[in-house]
């Protein structure tokens, strides 16, 4: 049963509350092309302010909050049938973020970003999307605030998820199939991002919308955890929870988990709520990566950021969760991981889909290929000996109704081979450019 609460009036800024300053980004090492370019702001200043450790609470602009109220607060649901099927006495809760036009938690920051870009006079948003949740969220947000929208979609998803394309096009966006890799490897999000960035740089009145990994995007998503805190309290849960989300851009795991760190600066990590970022065993960026400056795309137009990374050249594999096929972790999540405020775990694809199937059978919820990782991790945590001590909350960040292709692959044996052990995954980053003074490894 859902406890009645209100949509928060402010986002939570962990950088300010815990006095964390992220390493300054550095200029790309990739040659961007012919000649010097004028310097230009890609992101409105108002958004960049939200990525700085200035205020612990950032007021949500009223037009954005009104948009949130169309579908929020979202339910926090006890997964009693799942618990019974697992044979556990742990208490598992599902924070269901799938009930909006985009079917995804990503709509939270898409709306906020579209608002600030519209206020800054931008008339077209250009972005890249892997599985399509982000593209749909941006298309819907652009439509809401009267902006144009162009979306570069990873080829695999463009071909396999026509329903996603239709939805984006119904919302007024133009969807472009991004280029294939010249080496015939499956094209990942990085290639689509490069195409979007390049187009935006050459289009007047348009801006590339960064997507999910910026600190302000995670800040916008803290509505998830702020609601969950109230809901857990209303349900009589007093112990610090274990908070679980898959790791893509960091919005769902950060959005759910970070508000639980509010007002607890200086406490030892083992005395804090446990925030678990779940990765694919093929992309264990937090679990096996190194903390270094790395290029985020191939254009040379984007800066290098400090993050846990497997290296820009890391080949990965064609896992079904397109939104997790990226070589680096978000800078904010990386900084929190380095400080012990976020932990990580990596899982193999088949077992993840097994758990997603169990969730569907018990709770009637179909998780996206990405959210399935959170489902599986929550199931595994529920099997731990001390699982009764604290409630387990996982974020059902997106529904899986556009992922029929992924589930079909699961059913017919079309998943990729199991990833090698994390210790055997090589880093494709040269042994340079460590983050000085940050204690990186």
């Amino acid at each position: 049963m859902t406890a009645p609460i209100e949509v928060p009036a402010a986002w939570y800024n962990v950088l300010a509350d815990h006095d964390i300053e992220l390493p300054r980004d550095r200029q790309s090492t990739i040659a961007a092309g012919a000649g010097p370019r004028p310097a230009r702001l890609n992101v409105p200043k108002s958004l960049v302010r939200q990525s700085l450790p200035l205020q612990a609470e950032v007021a949500i602009p009223e037009p954005v909050r009104q948009a949130y109220q169309q579908w929020r607060p979202t339910p926090l649901r006890r997964a009693a049938r799942l618990e019974k099927a697992l044979g556990t006495r742990a208490r598992i809760y599902i924070k269901d973020e799938s009930g909006n036009v985009a079917g995804s938690h990503k709509y939270l920051t898409a709306l906020a970003q579209a608002y600030y870009y519209a206020e800054a006079g931008v008339h077209t948003l250009i972005t890249a999307t892997a599985a399509g949740q982000w593209g749909t969220a941006v298309a819907a947000a652009a439509r809401h605030f009267g902006l144009g929208c162009r979306i570069h979609m990873v080829p695999g998803s463009y071909d396999r998820k026509p329903s996603r394309r239709v939805l984006m096009e119904l919302l007024g966006a133009e969807v472009i199939r991004s280029r294939e890799r010249p080496d015939a490897r499956p094209a990942a999000l990085r290639e689509a991002m490069s195409a979007a960035i390049t187009e935006a740089a050459g289009t007047d009145g348009a801006r590339w919308v960064l997507g999910g990994s910026e600190p302000f995007a995670i800040l916008h998503s803290t509505v998830i955890g702020l609601e969950a805190k109230q809901q857990l309290a209303a349900l009589g849960e007093t112990a610090d929870p274990v908070l679980v989300g898959y790791l893509g851009g960091g919005k769902n795991v950060g959005g759910l988990g970070l508000p639980f760190l509010a007002g607890r600066r200086g406490q030892e990590p083992d005395r804090l709520p446990r925030i678990v970022a779940v990765e694919s065993a093929w992309y264990p960026v937090l679990t096996s990566g190194t903390f270094r400056f790395d290029d985020t795309d191939d254009t040379g137009l984007s800066p290098r950021t400090a993050s846990y990374t497997l290296g820009r050249g890391y080949p990965g594999a064609a896992i079904q969760a397109e939104g997790m096929r990226y070589h680096a972790a978000p800078p904010l999540i990386s900084a929190l991981r380095q400080r012990g405020l976020v932990s990580s775990v990596a899982h193999q694809e088949r077992s993840v889909f097994d758990s997603a199937r169990l969730l569907l059978a018990t709770e009637g919820l179909l998780a996206s290929a990405e959210a399935a990782y959170a489902v599986h991790a929550a199931c595994q945590l529920a099997r731990e000996p001390t699982s009764e001590d604290r409630p387990i909350v996982f974020c059902l960040s997106d529904h899986g109704y556009h992922d029929q292709d992924a589930y079909r692959a699961y059913l017919v044996g079309g998943l990729v081979e199991p990833a090698p052990p994390a210790t055997e995954i090589d880093c494709y980053l040269p042994a340079t450019a460590g983050v000085t003074g940050e204690g990186g490894h």
Partner: protein
């Protein structure tokens, strides 16, 4: 109210801190990779620092629309914004 030269000096000071350099910075110094090497985010952070320095709010719409080549371009924009032109 400060003069354009004073604004330029303040801008140079902010950029020097943002970039972390003791090299000469003048009105003709390019902002991007052939000069100070500022990233887009670095440029935005510099504008935020200038807002705090001058106690003023720089219009997002004006900043987003601007193509800035040199430090002088940036200082002129700040000066226009502060004087309402």
């Amino acid at each position: 109210m400060s003069t354009p030269q004073q604004t330029l000096e303040q801008v140079i000071e902010v950029l020097r801190r943002e970039v972390g350099t003791s090299d000469r910075i003048g009105a003709d110094t390019p902002l991007a990779e052939d000069g100070l090497g500022l990233t887009s985010l670095g440029l935005t952070r510099a504008f935020i620092a200038l807002e705090d320095t001058f106690g003023t709010d720089l219009d997002d719409a004006v900043l987003i629309a601007a193509d800035l080549v040199t430090v002088g371009d940036m200082a002129a924009l700040v000066d226009r914004s502060r004087h309402g032109s």
